[in-house]
Symmetry: C2
Subunit: 145 residues, 2 copies
Amino acid sequence: MQKETIDKIRAFNRFYTGIIGVIDDHILDSPYSLSEVRVMFEIYHNSNITARQIRDILQVDEGYLSRLIAKQERQAIIQKKRSSIDKRITFLTLTKKGEKIFLKLNEKSSKSISVVFSHLNKKEQKELTEHFERIKILLTQKKIK
Amino acid sequence: MQKETIDKIRAFNRFYTGIIGVIDDHILDSPYSLSEVRVMFEIYHNSNITARQIRDILQVDEGYLSRLIAKQERQAIIQKKRSSIDKRITFLTLTKKGEKIFLKLNEKSSKSISVVFSHLNKKEQKELTEHFERIKILLTQKKIK
DNA sequence: ATAACTACTTGCCTAAAGCAAGTATTTTTC
DNA sequence: GAAAAATACTTGCTTTAGGCAAGTAGTTAT
């Protein structure tokens, strides 16, 4: 791979890390950490997910995750139900309260996304999301070598 | 802003956070933390930068940064020289040793970037960096409202 | 000359996260 | 079908990252 290309990728990564940082910062003035919000996100979008699956998606330490989940269970955000078929596994769902909390946080994050991207008009927004789409396709397709 | 657009942005952010995570993970199996490498990066690319400037670029706590710099000075990676005009300011440079270390880490990061993007052919690489370029332009231009 | 400001440092503290050993359950192997 | 290996999760212990506030030294403004 060419050095120039690598430099461009690196430059974009630094740039985009900053963008993500700004958005995340806003979520962070809530009583929940980024990781906690991510856990809620995964459960919200995939009910009855397991801790193991979340670990694989978010790439977090399983011990740490176990504690996060326990904490959110104590706070009645998450509900655990053990599988009757395989008792090692517990399925996770958000409680009504948890769902409410997550949606509020999501709303907050939407707001901060809106702020960061607010200077774009309709057409530019469309262009932007098309770039995103293409990048995703480029980076996920034919990972199979 | 439209909900759909926000969702697409969020989806890309999650996706790209993962990509960056994979690349960063590789750098992290070195004795230096991400923040340390970033500090080296800034000094390497901008000799005689000040701690204040690095703080502004990287958006890190100045106390934490001060310690990082002190640590790297002890390790003879960084050299401080106080400004004779304004003695509050110290200019930072990499030592020969520091430069060597940084370049090695940079090389390592280049390798991991190469791996992540290796399935792309020349044409696709070009397309990718063009998307990056456009996104950067879209997101930096006319921030002035 | 004093007050306000800037650049950086230091002390103190909490939250984030890694690692390893442990428990309970299920699956594999001989 | 018992022992060994594997899986899903938990717990204890520890390190690291990073925030916040007060402190120091130097500079600029009033």
